[in-house]
Amino acid sequence: MSEINYIDAIRKALHDAMADDPGVFLYGQDIGAFGGAFKATKGLYETFPGRVLDCPISEDAMSGLALGAAIEGMRPVIEMQFADFSTVGLNQIINNCATHFYRTGIPAPVVFRLPSGGTPGSGPFHSQSMEALYAHYPGLIVFTPATVADAYSMLREAIAIDDPVIFCEHKLLYRWLKEDSIRGDGLPWHRARVARVGKHATVVTHAAMVHEALRAADQLSEDGWEIEVVDLRCAKPLDRTTILGSLARTGRLLALGEAFPFGGVTAEVVSIAATEGFELLDAPPQRLNSRDTPIPYQPDLWRAHRPTAESIQAALRRLLAF
């Protein structure tokens, strides 16, 4: 069995979606014959002539175009070259695409692929995690897959969904994360997954941080701590049932995310725990995020900016000691 990595899964999802539905097309910078900055579309230009289009550096127009195409019955998939540049298309995404169904009753099935998150040396403008920004706006669904199988199945689901989906794919996982197969567990997109079962504390997290959390849990298991890890998968809407179910088992919460600390997914998770799961808690719910500065370039600085297995472990030890 050959190995398949996260970016292969994305490419295969795009391929299979295009093969299944002639309405699916890809629009983005350098995604044609070049195959995309991360090679997510490699070979698709040749396989699907006329359906993989290179576009000018116009994130606003790309995003508006996606809405127009969706109105006419297509299912556009927009590749932002980096999640960070999607801010140039923010207006079209949050004000035009996201409001369209509510205002007009006409659905807008568009997918924005956002190569997200930090990697060493990427610096302030090629590293951002933007799920909270998009999750804030009504009318958008936000995916943050953490596994190879989810990269495939959730992108297929994103394309099939009749609403705009922000698909945050993590760049650190692109080539590093490999599995034997893309076959997953069939969990529907709106369900979080218990990625590791435990009983002493729960880490609720998503995207690349799932793997840091699993490492931290491994390390703590040497001391006898059993840490549960919940992979949210979908940042909006949040699966409150799975979050609260896990807290019922462990009584302790660490909400973990790579994004900036103000607001965001971890704040929402803590809010759910505090308002709906108060009686389940044995300790004050905790959050761990990146630092509140732009994301630094130098790799050692970058590692100290984001949560890592070590800082997660330290946070969990404090939580367990409460």
């Binding site: 116009s58 508006g64 127009g68 007009t104």
Partner: protein, 325 residues
């Protein structure tokens, strides 16, 4: 040369738009409308000419703030405006959006959002989709003001249309002001139409208050787009004959502009053109004015009688997809 019949038809649309918006303004002044009222007074010739150059069912029209006339020309029910201003459940936006932010996207008329310039690329997407589907694309027309030409969205959209060689018709209604800002604070190019050269597309100009000229110029631009000539930029100077909205008395408008050729009312010019063309005489126009008054009265009365949305029955669903908690 514009046919006398088309002149008359367009003039009739202009007058209907003028009277309808006067009625909406009257309701607003009586406190009957929440928010603002934005009228196309002065822009009716340009807007009607655009609407009448398009074919509903084939073409796309993304109207903007001052396109009541174009909307009617494109086939919008005269009650849609009043229903939307009054927030009625029967209007296309069902009270969820108001005033000029209305449309029927699945019928080729996207519903503008406030953010200026943004509808350009939406029209591009509609055209591109139709082309990919192997359908007749029709022409995709949209309009915006002198102020909106300063947005990034205008630039990105027009450039994208050029790159994709789309049959986009962009009408720039240069009414000399963006809210209170004169064009000198918006751009310094000698003529906005020179931008067409920069985008590698065809440019046209016509006096925006001259119906006959607007019909000629826009008719040609639409035909060029339809014939494969790519995007067309039309720049039409005239003067906004209202405030930005009906809350604004436009004290800042230069009196010299009001008195000059740009300040002439397009409805007066069109009336002269219709009479000169022989399409109608004074008596016919008087009858027509009576019919228009009836249409306006019926449209607004219908809207006023229509039901309001029920906040208790509202589903509060921003998504089509339903997902369990």
């Amino acid at each position: 040369m514009t046919s006398p019949d088309l002149l008359l038809k367009a003039y009739c649309t202009m007058l209907l738009a003028r009277r309808l918006e006067e009625k909406i303004t009257a309701i607003y002044r009586a406190g009957g409308i929440a928010g603002g009222v934005y009228v196309g007074r002065g822009q009716e010739a340009l807007s009607a000419a655009l609407g009448h150059s398009l074919r509903r069912g084939v073409d796309i029209f993304a109207p903007l703030i001052r396109d009541q006339a174009g909307r009617l020309a494109f086939g919008e029910d005269p009650a849609e405006g009043p229903r939307t201003y009054l927030g009625r459940a029967t209007g296309p936006m069902r009270g969820r959006d108001g005033n000029v932010h209305r449309g029927r996207p699945s019928e080729g008329m996207p519903a503008m959002i406030s953010h200026l310039g943004t509808m350009t690329s939406v029209v591009c997407g509609m055209l591109l989709a139709r082309r990919m589907q192997g359908r007749e694309t029709g022409v995709g027309a949209t309009s915006l003001g002198d102020g909106a030409t300063s947005t990034g969205a205008f630039h990105e959209g027009l450039n994208l249309a050029a790159v994709e060689k789309l049959p986009l018709v962009m009408v720039v209604a240069n009414n000399q002001y963006a809210y209170s800002t004169p064009t000198s604070r918006q751009f310094v190019c000698a003529d906005l139409v020179d931008k067409a050269v920069g985008y590698g597309i065809q440019g046209h100009t016509c006096p925006g208050n001259d119906l006959s000229e607007c019909l000629n110029t826009i008719g040609k631009a639409v035909a060029d787009a339809r014939g494969g000539g790519g995007p067309q930029l039309i720049v039409a100077p005239f003067l906004r004959l209202s405030g930005h909205g009906e809350h604004d008395d436009a004290f800042y408008v230069d009196p010299a502009l009001r008195e000059g050729p740009l300040g002439r009312d397009c409805v007066d010019i069109a009336r002269e053109q219709v009479l000169a063309s022989g399409a109608a005489d004074e008596e016919t126009l008087a009858t027509m004015a009576g019919e228009i008054a009836d249409i306006v009265a019926t449209a607004t009365a219908t809207a006023q009688k229509d039901p309001l949305p029920d906040p208790y029955a509202e589903t509060w669903q921003a998504l089509k997809t339903s997902c369990p908690a």
